[in-house]
Amino acid sequence: MDLAFTQEEEAFRAEARTWLNAHVPSTPLPSLETEEGFAAHRAWEAELAADRWSVVDWPAVYGGRDAGLVRWLLFEEEYYAAGAPGRVGQNGVSLLAPTLFDHGTEDQRARVLPPMATGEVVWAQAWSEPEAGSDLASLRSRAVRTAGGWLLSGQKTWSSRAAFADRAFGLFRSDPQPAKPHQGLTYVMFDLRAPGVTVRPIRRLDGRPAFAELFLDEVFVPDEDVIGEPGQGWRVAMSTAGNERGLTLRSPGRFLAGAGRLCALWRAQGSPDAVRHRVADALIGARAYQLFTYAAASRHLDGAVLGPESSLNKVFWSEYDIALTETALDILDAADEPADTEWAERYVFALAGPIYAGTNEIQRDIIAERLLGLPKGRR
């Protein structure tokens, strides 16, 4: 058992640090939840991609560095430590891409991944519907067979970044009367600017159009944009969900850097005693999450498949993020200063953590039933 990195891993870390120090914008980009910010973040993705830093763990053919899980973690630590911008392409990179690696065809990977890596095509996730939130399998949007493909109709909602994104991936009911709700679903990719698609931005708590609802009226999707077998969408979706909750969506680097900045803020305000415990707990939590992730990565490298354990991560990081950002806001408020916009934006985003990627209530059910072996109850 050890925590030491190889010389190659340390060299990779140093190379990333050098590159980031030279390239990270010296003033923060405008919020990526605005039109202007979206464009600026796309340009940043292109800059990262030009030197193959946008998707370091992907195979080189798609624009990556074949860096593997450990080096990806190191990259993320450096990325956030350097104060680099939020990732506009993350829905695609952390949700759709792993799904294509597991279930896609060679042709789909070759078409979809390179422009995703450069930020040229930004993806939105179209899963939730007005009547299908936690009970996702109750979704009603339809995919109806047509020559050479499918016609999508219905309504999706809460689709992050769909206001400015290019394409979307999501689940549709292709069998209107399945034996069980999880059957007869089909997983497809579609164009947000295709005929029949209407995108209505929804303003979130801070007023920014960070998500949107999608109205679909006989939107054509060719067969080659179906991921996995038609009717087998649930299985495909569950592999996406594991990624969403698990390692790839929220890397420890984000929280290590956040805790470091919180600590610096606290000291800059004269180390007020009232929040001393919470600042210490922020440091401890970041370290715990880092080490937990290293252990999970080690198991993964030993060949283990990360299953319901990812629900532990999800509850942990989502609650941690709120505690971290709340503490920062309390320090700023107590210092009689207007809440610094970066912390305030982080805080508003953190508040959604226990809701998206499967609510924390649903995650606790998974932990209780699948990790602790408790009996299923009424949903």
Binding site: M1, D2, L3, A4, F5, T6, E9, V70, A81, L256, A257, A259, G260, C263, R267, R276, H277, V279, A280, D281, L283, I284, G285, A286, R287, A288, Y289, Q290, L291, F292, Y294, A295, A297, S298, R299, L301, D302, L312, V315, F316, E361, Q363, R364, D365, I367, A368, E369, L371, L372, G373, L374, P375, K376, G377, R378
Partner: protein
């Protein structure tokens, strides 16, 4: 980077579990609480044979250590089985003696700890745990100075072998017997070397307490999961109620995030990592104790039922060798950044 216990480390944990399961620790604990140490001493010698205490003693003094990772692995199992006795104190005493500049006391006292002839206890000011069961009773006096070292205090620091103790005071955990150590006794060492050695010893004390607390928490969770699966009310197992499930899920999360902190601290042995592990493991175990008590209902509130052996220990370990407050202060340090950010 392979941050997982090795095959040998897992085998060591398994062998301890097998040994402890066979030992019927609950009855050993109950006897110990009443002052009957027969079973406890027998168990002590089996743990010694398994090499537990040798892990804290350097090879130069007939030990196999110091091996903090293996110590942490072992103490998780000791906590899981609620083993009584001055376990943490013995490895702390060993570390303290081995870290002195003057090798005399270590040469004289450590081999007996490795062979199991002696158990040890240590007090800094307050009480010494299980001093009636320990032949080596160390008292450190002078500087409570880990936080603010000061020359005058350091040179006044003394390490003494204390005389036999008087009567114990009860602890919230009946299996932890707290003795005030009488003044006097043989002077073993003095001056800054005592302060420095105590700093090393405190790290081992906190690490092994954290590991023990993690084990206590894991046992509480396991026992509670088993209970809620078989106890029925309203015609179904209470474990099928979401309000019950979610409390146990939270306990699981807290313990699973404490575990890597404990093992990581054993690898780095930095004061910050160890303090982080101590506060997290102890808080997780304590929160799990509260949940365990609640979900057992009234039966959990009895001294007759074995759950109580872990419940009270979770509370006691929380403040042993550094309260949550002290540990958080250690994490924040004197303004120096932890290495990991």
């Amino acid at each position: 980077m392979r941050f997982l216990p090795s095959t040998e480390q897992r085998a060591f944990a398994d062998s301890l579990t097998a040994l402890l399961t066979a030992a019927d620790t609950p009855s050993v604990v109950r006897d110990w609480s009443r002052g009957d140490q027969t079973g406890g001493r027998a168990l002590w010698s089996r743990l010694t044979e398994a090499g537990v205490f040798a892990l804290a003693v350097p090879e130069g003094y007939e030990g196999m250590g110091p091996r903090p990772v293996e110590l942490a692995v072992a103490f998780v199992e000791l906590g899981r089985h609620a083993v009584p006795g001055p376990l943490v104190e013995t490895v702390t005493a060993a570390t303290l003696l081995a870290a002195l500049d003057d090798p005399g006391p270590a040469e004289r006292l450590l081999p007996a700890l490795v062979s199991g002839k002696s158990a040890a206890t240590v007090a800094r000011g307050g009480y010494a745990l299980d001093a009636d069961a320990a032949d080596v009773r160390l008292r450190v006096s002078g500087p409570e100075s880990a936080a603010a070292p000061n020359r005058a205090a350091e040179s006044a620091a003394e390490l003494r072998l204390a005389p036999a103790p008087g009567l114990p005071r009860p602890s919230l955990d009946p299996a932890r017997r707290l003795f005030p150590l009488p003044p006097g006794g043989e002077l073993l060492a003095a001056g800054p070397q005592v302060t420095a050695a105590m700093a090393d010893a405190l790290r081992i004390a906190r690490l092994t307490t954290a590991a023990q607390a993690l084990g206590v928490g894991l046992a509480l969770l396991d026992r509670t999961v088993a209970y809620v699966r078989q106890r029925t009310q309203f015609g179904v197992p209470i474990g099928s109620f979401q309000a019950v499930k979610h409390q146990l899920a939270d306990a699981k999360i807290a313990l699973e995030f404490a575990r890597p902190l404990v093992l990581g601290a054993a690898l780095t042995m930095t004061g910050q990592d160890i303090a982080a592990a101590k506060v997290t493991a102890c808080e997780a175990a304590y929160a799990t104790a509260r949940t365990a008590l609640q979900l057992h209902g009234a039966i959990g509130y009895t001294a007759e039922y074995d759950l109580s052996l872990w419940l009270t220990k979770a509370r006691a370990l929380r403040t042993a060798w550094g309260s949550p407050d002290e540990c958080r202060a250690a994490v924040l340090g004197n303004g120096d950044r932890p290495q990991w950010w």
